[in-house]
Symmetry: C2
Subunit: 212 residues, 2 copies
Protein backbone atom coordinates (compact mmCIF):
# COMPACT_ATOMS: atom_id res chain seq x y z
CA UNK A 1 0.00 0.00 0.00
CA UNK A 2 1.35 3.41 -0.95
CA UNK A 3 2.13 5.64 2.01
CA UNK A 4 -0.08 8.31 0.52
CA UNK A 5 -3.07 6.08 1.04
CA UNK A 6 -2.64 5.64 4.77
CA UNK A 7 -5.51 7.41 6.45
CA UNK A 8 -4.90 7.77 10.16
CA UNK A 9 -8.01 7.74 12.37
CA UNK A 10 -8.67 11.04 14.06
CA UNK A 11 -8.50 9.46 17.53
CA UNK A 12 -5.00 8.15 16.76
CA UNK A 13 -3.96 11.46 15.28
CA UNK A 14 -5.09 13.21 18.44
CA UNK A 15 -2.67 11.10 20.49
CA UNK A 16 0.36 11.72 18.26
CA UNK A 17 1.38 15.02 19.87
CA UNK A 18 1.47 13.16 23.19
CA UNK A 19 3.58 10.34 21.68
CA UNK A 20 5.87 12.95 20.20
CA UNK A 21 6.35 14.56 23.61
CA UNK A 22 7.19 11.25 25.33
CA UNK A 23 9.53 10.12 22.53
CA UNK A 24 11.35 13.45 22.64
CA UNK A 25 11.86 12.96 26.39
CA UNK A 26 13.21 9.43 25.80
CA UNK A 27 15.58 10.66 23.12
CA UNK A 28 16.71 13.41 25.47
CA UNK A 29 17.79 10.82 28.05
CA UNK A 30 19.52 8.79 25.28
CA UNK A 31 17.10 5.88 25.44
CA UNK A 32 17.29 3.98 22.15
CA UNK A 33 14.53 1.40 22.61
CA UNK A 34 11.34 1.23 24.66
CA UNK A 35 8.81 -1.55 25.23
CA UNK A 36 5.15 -0.92 24.44
CA UNK A 37 4.28 -1.61 28.10
CA UNK A 38 6.69 1.01 29.39
CA UNK A 39 5.72 3.59 26.80
CA UNK A 40 2.00 2.96 27.39
CA UNK A 41 2.52 3.43 31.13
CA UNK A 42 4.20 6.80 30.52
CA UNK A 43 1.28 7.82 28.31
CA UNK A 44 -1.46 6.59 30.61
CA UNK A 45 -3.04 4.41 27.89
CA UNK A 46 -3.17 0.63 27.44
CA UNK A 47 -0.33 -1.06 25.57
CA UNK A 48 -2.79 -2.66 23.15
CA UNK A 49 -4.09 0.80 22.27
CA UNK A 50 -0.53 2.00 21.77
CA UNK A 51 0.39 -0.96 19.56
CA UNK A 52 -2.71 -0.41 17.46
CA UNK A 53 -1.92 3.27 16.99
CA UNK A 54 1.70 2.59 16.08
CA UNK A 55 0.68 -0.08 13.58
CA UNK A 56 -0.90 2.63 11.41
CA UNK A 57 2.49 4.01 10.55
CA UNK A 58 4.54 0.87 10.33
CA UNK A 59 6.02 1.15 13.79
CA UNK A 60 6.86 -2.48 14.54
CA UNK A 61 8.38 -3.35 17.86
CA UNK A 62 11.23 -5.86 17.92
CA UNK A 63 10.51 -8.77 20.26
CA UNK A 64 12.62 -8.47 23.40
CA UNK A 65 13.97 -5.08 22.35
CA UNK A 66 10.94 -2.88 21.84
CA UNK A 67 10.41 0.13 19.63
CA UNK A 68 13.22 2.17 18.12
CA UNK A 69 12.78 5.62 19.65
CA UNK A 70 14.55 7.56 16.89
CA UNK A 71 12.69 5.75 14.13
CA UNK A 72 9.27 6.29 15.73
CA UNK A 73 10.07 9.95 16.29
CA UNK A 74 10.92 10.39 12.62
CA UNK A 75 7.78 8.59 11.47
CA UNK A 76 5.48 10.60 13.71
CA UNK A 77 7.05 13.84 12.57
CA UNK A 78 6.55 12.78 8.95
CA UNK A 79 2.92 11.93 9.56
CA UNK A 80 2.20 15.15 11.39
CA UNK A 81 3.77 17.09 8.55
CA UNK A 82 6.27 18.64 10.95
CA UNK A 83 9.35 17.36 9.21
CA UNK A 84 8.57 20.43 7.21
CA UNK A 85 7.87 23.76 8.83
CA UNK A 86 4.77 25.83 8.31
CA UNK A 87 4.38 29.56 8.56
CA UNK A 88 1.06 30.77 9.85
CA UNK A 89 -0.94 33.99 9.65
CA UNK A 90 -3.38 34.76 12.45
CA UNK A 91 -6.24 37.12 11.61
CA UNK A 92 -7.60 38.87 14.68
CA UNK A 93 -5.07 40.31 17.10
CA UNK A 94 -7.36 39.97 20.12
CA UNK A 95 -6.83 37.90 23.25
CA UNK A 96 -7.02 34.56 21.50
CA UNK A 97 -4.99 35.60 18.46
CA UNK A 98 -2.16 37.01 20.56
CA UNK A 99 -2.31 33.98 22.88
CA UNK A 100 -1.75 31.75 19.83
CA UNK A 101 1.11 33.97 18.66
CA UNK A 102 2.87 33.38 21.97
CA UNK A 103 1.86 29.74 22.40
CA UNK A 104 5.03 27.59 22.61
CA UNK A 105 3.11 24.43 21.62
CA UNK A 106 2.92 25.60 18.02
CA UNK A 107 6.65 26.22 17.60
CA UNK A 108 7.39 22.85 19.21
CA UNK A 109 5.37 21.24 16.44
CA UNK A 110 6.98 23.04 13.53
CA UNK A 111 4.50 25.88 13.19
CA UNK A 112 5.66 29.49 13.30
CA UNK A 113 3.13 32.27 13.76
CA UNK A 114 4.83 34.77 11.45
CA UNK A 115 2.22 37.52 11.27
CA UNK A 116 -0.94 38.80 12.93
CA UNK A 117 -3.53 40.82 11.03
CA UNK A 118 -6.25 43.13 12.29
CA UNK A 119 -8.40 46.00 11.06
CA UNK A 120 -7.93 47.95 14.30
CA UNK A 121 -5.48 50.73 13.40
CA UNK A 122 -4.45 51.08 17.06
CA UNK A 123 -2.97 47.56 16.93
CA UNK A 124 -1.28 47.78 13.51
CA UNK A 125 2.47 48.36 13.71
CA UNK A 126 2.78 46.77 17.18
CA UNK A 127 3.96 43.30 18.04
CA UNK A 128 2.57 40.45 20.16
CA UNK A 129 5.70 38.83 21.53
CA UNK A 130 7.91 38.65 18.44
CA UNK A 131 5.03 38.64 15.98
CA UNK A 132 4.31 41.83 14.01
CA UNK A 133 0.72 43.04 13.58
CA UNK A 134 -0.23 44.15 10.07
CA UNK A 135 -3.39 45.67 8.65
CA UNK A 136 -5.68 43.08 7.10
CA UNK A 137 -5.36 44.83 3.73
CA UNK A 138 -1.71 43.72 3.67
CA UNK A 139 -2.65 40.02 3.77
CA UNK A 140 -2.01 39.19 0.07
CA UNK A 141 1.38 40.97 0.01
CA UNK A 142 2.54 39.50 3.32
CA UNK A 143 1.41 36.02 2.33
CA UNK A 144 3.94 36.08 -0.52
CA UNK A 145 6.66 37.99 1.33
CA UNK A 146 6.55 35.86 4.49
CA UNK A 147 5.63 32.59 2.77
CA UNK A 148 2.48 32.08 4.86
CA UNK A 149 0.65 28.80 4.19
CA UNK A 150 -1.89 28.38 7.00
CA UNK A 151 -4.31 31.10 8.04
CA UNK A 152 -5.98 31.12 11.45
CA UNK A 153 -9.21 33.03 12.04
CA UNK A 154 -9.81 34.37 15.56
CA UNK A 155 -12.54 36.83 14.63
CA UNK A 156 -16.25 37.25 15.39
CA UNK A 157 -18.69 34.95 13.60
CA UNK A 158 -20.39 37.83 11.77
CA UNK A 159 -17.28 38.77 9.78
CA UNK A 160 -15.78 35.28 9.42
CA UNK A 161 -17.05 34.50 5.91
CA UNK A 162 -15.98 37.89 4.58
CA UNK A 163 -12.49 37.54 6.04
CA UNK A 164 -12.33 33.91 4.87
CA UNK A 165 -13.07 35.14 1.31
CA UNK A 166 -10.18 37.61 1.57
CA UNK A 167 -7.88 34.79 2.69
CA UNK A 168 -9.02 32.61 -0.22
CA UNK A 169 -8.39 35.48 -2.66
CA UNK A 170 -4.90 35.81 -1.17
CA UNK A 171 -4.35 32.14 -2.05
CA UNK A 172 -4.59 30.33 1.30
CA UNK A 173 -5.57 26.66 1.04
CA UNK A 174 -5.58 25.76 4.75
CA UNK A 175 -7.72 27.51 7.36
CA UNK A 176 -7.77 26.97 11.14
CA UNK A 177 -11.09 28.49 12.14
CA UNK A 178 -11.95 29.56 15.71
CA UNK A 179 -14.98 31.63 14.65
CA UNK A 180 -18.11 29.69 15.65
CA UNK A 181 -19.51 29.41 12.14
CA UNK A 182 -19.28 27.03 9.16
CA UNK A 183 -17.30 28.53 6.28
CA UNK A 184 -18.22 28.27 2.62
CA UNK A 185 -15.02 27.30 0.78
CA UNK A 186 -14.08 25.54 -2.49
CA UNK A 187 -13.40 21.80 -2.36
CA UNK A 188 -9.62 22.17 -2.53
CA UNK A 189 -9.42 24.24 0.66
CA UNK A 190 -8.83 22.54 4.02
CA UNK A 191 -10.71 23.89 7.03
CA UNK A 192 -10.11 22.76 10.59
CA UNK A 193 -12.85 23.92 12.96
CA UNK A 194 -12.04 24.72 16.55
CA UNK A 195 -15.03 25.45 18.74
CA UNK A 196 -13.91 26.01 22.31
CA UNK A 197 -17.49 25.79 23.49
CA UNK A 198 -17.88 22.16 22.40
CA UNK A 199 -15.43 20.89 25.00
CA UNK A 200 -17.02 22.65 27.91
CA UNK A 201 -20.52 21.75 26.74
CA UNK A 202 -19.48 18.11 26.69
CA UNK A 203 -18.34 18.61 30.27
CA UNK A 204 -21.53 20.36 31.39
CA UNK A 205 -23.58 17.67 29.64
CA UNK A 206 -21.81 14.95 31.63
CA UNK A 207 -21.87 16.97 34.85
CA UNK A 208 -25.62 17.59 34.67
CA UNK A 209 -26.18 13.86 34.03
CA UNK A 210 -23.98 13.11 37.04
CA UNK A 211 -25.62 15.59 39.38
CA UNK A 212 -29.10 14.74 38.07
Amino acid sequence: MSEDLVIIPKATLSRLPLYLRVLNELKHINMRFISSDEMAARLGITSSQLRKDLSYFGGLGIRGTGYDVEYLLGRIKDILGISRHWRMAVIGAGKLGTALARYPGLGQHGITVAALFDVDESKVGWKAGDVPIFHLSELPAKKEELNLEIVTLTIPAQVAQKVCDLALQAGFKAIWNFAPVRLDVPGDVLVQYEDLVVGVLTLSHLLSRRLG
Copy 2:
Protein backbone atom coordinates in the same frame (compact mmCIF):
# COMPACT_ATOMS: atom_id res chain seq x y z
CA MET B 1 -35.36 3.53 27.77
CA SER B 2 -34.67 5.88 30.63
CA GLU B 3 -33.45 9.31 29.54
CA ASP B 4 -30.46 8.89 31.80
CA LEU B 5 -29.26 6.07 29.59
CA VAL B 6 -29.16 8.07 26.38
CA ILE B 7 -25.54 8.41 25.39
CA ILE B 8 -25.12 10.97 22.66
CA PRO B 9 -22.25 10.36 20.22
CA LYS B 10 -19.49 12.94 20.47
CA ALA B 11 -19.89 13.92 16.81
CA THR B 12 -23.57 14.70 17.42
CA LEU B 13 -22.76 16.55 20.63
CA SER B 14 -20.24 18.67 18.74
CA ARG B 15 -22.99 19.88 16.41
CA LEU B 16 -25.47 20.80 19.16
CA PRO B 17 -24.06 24.29 19.80
CA LEU B 18 -24.57 24.99 16.10
CA TYR B 19 -28.16 23.67 16.25
CA LEU B 20 -28.74 25.80 19.31
CA ARG B 21 -27.56 28.91 17.47
CA VAL B 22 -29.80 28.28 14.46
CA LEU B 23 -32.85 27.44 16.62
CA ASN B 24 -32.34 30.59 18.67
CA GLU B 25 -32.30 32.60 15.44
CA LEU B 26 -35.52 30.92 14.29
CA LYS B 27 -37.21 31.59 17.61
CA HIS B 28 -36.07 35.20 17.39
CA ILE B 29 -37.95 35.63 14.09
CA ASN B 30 -40.99 33.86 15.62
CA MET B 31 -40.75 30.77 13.42
CA ARG B 32 -42.62 27.93 15.14
CA PHE B 33 -41.84 25.02 12.82
CA ILE B 34 -39.04 24.19 10.43
CA SER B 35 -38.53 21.33 7.97
CA SER B 36 -35.42 19.18 8.23
CA ASP B 37 -34.44 20.23 4.70
CA GLU B 38 -34.57 23.91 5.50
CA MET B 39 -32.81 23.55 8.84
CA ALA B 40 -30.11 21.34 7.29
CA ALA B 41 -29.54 23.94 4.57
CA ARG B 42 -29.03 26.63 7.21
CA LEU B 43 -26.54 24.38 9.00
CA GLY B 44 -24.64 23.29 5.89
CA ILE B 45 -25.18 19.58 6.63
CA THR B 46 -27.37 16.94 4.96
CA SER B 47 -30.94 16.55 6.15
CA SER B 48 -30.38 12.82 6.79
CA GLN B 49 -27.49 13.74 9.12
CA LEU B 50 -29.71 16.24 10.88
CA ARG B 51 -32.60 13.78 11.29
CA LYS B 52 -30.21 11.18 12.68
CA ASP B 53 -28.79 13.65 15.20
CA LEU B 54 -32.22 14.82 16.30
CA SER B 55 -33.43 11.23 16.70
CA TYR B 56 -31.02 10.81 19.65
CA PHE B 57 -33.08 13.13 21.77
CA GLY B 58 -36.56 12.32 20.65
CA GLY B 59 -36.91 15.20 18.24
CA LEU B 60 -39.54 13.86 15.86
CA GLY B 61 -40.63 16.01 12.95
CA ILE B 62 -44.31 16.14 12.10
CA ARG B 63 -44.97 15.23 8.48
CA GLY B 64 -45.91 18.32 6.48
CA THR B 65 -45.21 20.61 9.44
CA GLY B 66 -41.62 19.93 10.43
CA TYR B 67 -39.87 20.27 13.78
CA ASP B 68 -41.22 22.32 16.67
CA VAL B 69 -38.57 25.01 17.19
CA GLU B 70 -39.39 25.73 20.83
CA TYR B 71 -39.48 22.05 21.77
CA LEU B 72 -36.15 21.26 20.07
CA LEU B 73 -34.57 24.28 21.74
CA GLY B 74 -35.67 23.05 25.16
CA ARG B 75 -34.45 19.51 24.51
CA ILE B 76 -31.02 20.63 23.30
CA LYS B 77 -30.63 22.92 26.29
CA ASP B 78 -31.54 20.03 28.59
CA ILE B 79 -29.03 17.74 26.93
CA LEU B 80 -26.25 20.30 27.01
CA GLY B 81 -26.92 20.89 30.68
CA ILE B 82 -27.53 24.57 30.03
CA SER B 83 -31.05 24.62 31.34
CA ARG B 84 -29.06 25.00 34.49
CA HIS B 85 -26.27 27.52 34.85
CA TRP B 86 -22.70 26.69 35.78
CA ARG B 87 -20.18 28.91 37.50
CA MET B 88 -16.59 28.37 36.45
CA ALA B 89 -13.18 29.07 37.95
CA VAL B 90 -10.26 29.61 35.58
CA ILE B 91 -6.80 28.94 37.00
CA GLY B 92 -4.12 30.83 35.13
CA ALA B 93 -4.79 34.50 34.39
CA GLY B 94 -2.59 34.55 31.29
CA LYS B 95 -3.60 35.28 27.70
CA LEU B 96 -5.74 32.18 27.32
CA GLY B 97 -7.34 32.38 30.77
CA THR B 98 -8.33 36.02 30.35
CA ALA B 99 -9.52 35.29 26.77
CA LEU B 100 -11.87 32.65 28.20
CA ALA B 101 -13.05 35.04 30.90
CA ARG B 102 -14.15 37.48 28.19
CA TYR B 103 -15.39 34.89 25.71
CA PRO B 104 -19.10 35.55 25.00
CA GLY B 105 -19.61 31.96 23.76
CA LEU B 106 -19.50 30.64 27.33
CA GLY B 107 -22.14 32.97 28.69
CA GLN B 108 -24.39 32.22 25.73
CA HIS B 109 -24.27 28.56 26.76
CA GLY B 110 -25.06 29.06 30.40
CA ILE B 111 -21.53 29.17 31.75
CA THR B 112 -20.31 32.12 33.81
CA VAL B 113 -16.61 32.59 34.44
CA ALA B 114 -16.95 33.89 38.00
CA ALA B 115 -13.30 33.94 39.12
CA LEU B 116 -9.74 33.78 37.82
CA PHE B 117 -6.89 32.48 39.96
CA ASP B 118 -3.15 32.98 39.62
CA VAL B 119 -0.03 32.82 41.77
CA ASP B 120 1.36 36.00 40.22
CA GLU B 121 0.87 38.67 42.93
CA SER B 122 0.98 41.43 40.31
CA LYS B 123 -2.25 40.06 38.82
CA VAL B 124 -4.12 39.36 42.07
CA GLY B 125 -6.72 42.00 42.92
CA TRP B 126 -7.21 43.09 39.30
CA LYS B 127 -10.00 42.10 36.95
CA ALA B 128 -10.14 40.69 33.43
CA GLY B 129 -13.28 42.24 32.01
CA ASP B 130 -15.73 41.79 34.88
CA VAL B 131 -13.97 38.79 36.37
CA PRO B 132 -11.91 39.27 39.56
CA ILE B 133 -8.45 37.67 39.86
CA PHE B 134 -7.74 35.92 43.17
CA HIS B 135 -4.63 34.26 44.55
CA LEU B 136 -4.64 30.49 44.00
CA SER B 137 -4.54 29.96 47.77
CA GLU B 138 -8.08 31.38 47.92
CA LEU B 139 -9.48 28.63 45.68
CA PRO B 140 -11.19 26.52 48.41
CA ALA B 141 -12.82 29.55 50.07
CA LYS B 142 -13.95 31.10 46.78
CA LYS B 143 -15.29 27.79 45.51
CA GLU B 144 -17.81 27.80 48.37
CA GLU B 145 -18.48 31.52 48.39
CA LEU B 146 -19.02 31.83 44.63
CA ASN B 147 -20.55 28.38 44.12
CA LEU B 148 -17.95 27.34 41.52
CA GLU B 149 -18.53 23.91 39.98
CA ILE B 150 -16.23 23.67 36.94
CA VAL B 151 -12.52 24.50 37.08
CA THR B 152 -10.53 25.34 33.95
CA LEU B 153 -6.76 24.93 33.87
CA THR B 154 -4.83 27.27 31.57
CA ILE B 155 -1.42 26.70 33.11
CA PRO B 156 1.91 25.19 32.01
CA ALA B 157 2.14 21.39 31.79
CA GLN B 158 4.81 21.18 34.52
CA VAL B 159 2.51 22.51 37.24
CA ALA B 160 -0.76 21.07 35.97
CA GLN B 161 -0.90 17.97 38.20
CA LYS B 162 -0.03 19.96 41.31
CA VAL B 163 -2.70 22.57 40.60
CA CYS B 164 -5.16 19.81 39.66
CA ASP B 165 -4.57 18.24 43.09
CA LEU B 166 -5.36 21.57 44.77
CA ALA B 167 -8.59 21.79 42.77
CA LEU B 168 -9.53 18.26 43.79
CA GLN B 169 -8.85 19.09 47.45
CA ALA B 170 -11.10 22.11 47.06
CA GLY B 171 -13.86 19.72 45.94
CA PHE B 172 -14.07 20.24 42.17
CA LYS B 173 -15.48 17.27 40.23
CA ALA B 174 -15.28 18.71 36.70
CA ILE B 175 -12.07 19.93 35.06
CA TRP B 176 -11.60 21.58 31.67
CA ASN B 177 -7.90 21.12 31.01
CA PHE B 178 -5.90 23.16 28.48
CA ALA B 179 -2.51 22.09 29.87
CA PRO B 180 -0.98 19.60 27.39
CA VAL B 181 -0.72 16.74 29.89
CA ARG B 182 -2.86 13.84 31.12
CA LEU B 183 -4.12 14.37 34.66
CA ASP B 184 -4.25 11.73 37.35
CA VAL B 185 -7.70 12.02 38.97
CA PRO B 186 -10.11 9.76 40.91
CA GLY B 187 -12.79 7.94 38.94
CA ASP B 188 -15.60 10.27 39.98
CA VAL B 189 -13.93 13.35 38.50
CA LEU B 190 -14.74 14.45 34.95
CA VAL B 191 -11.88 15.79 32.84
CA GLN B 192 -12.31 17.34 29.41
CA TYR B 193 -9.01 17.72 27.57
CA GLU B 194 -8.48 20.58 25.18
CA ASP B 195 -5.28 20.44 23.17
CA LEU B 196 -5.16 23.32 20.75
CA VAL B 197 -2.23 21.73 18.98
CA VAL B 198 -4.25 18.70 17.85
CA GLY B 199 -6.43 20.75 15.51
CA VAL B 200 -3.59 22.46 13.74
CA LEU B 201 -1.57 19.24 13.54
CA THR B 202 -4.52 17.59 11.82
CA LEU B 203 -4.44 20.49 9.38
CA SER B 204 -0.68 20.30 8.77
CA HIS B 205 -0.96 16.52 8.36
CA LEU B 206 -3.57 16.95 5.62
CA LEU B 207 -1.75 19.87 4.05
CA SER B 208 1.54 18.00 3.78
CA ARG B 209 -0.31 15.05 2.19
CA ARG B 210 -1.93 17.48 -0.24
CA LEU B 211 1.26 19.29 -1.18
CA GLY B 212 3.27 16.04 -1.27
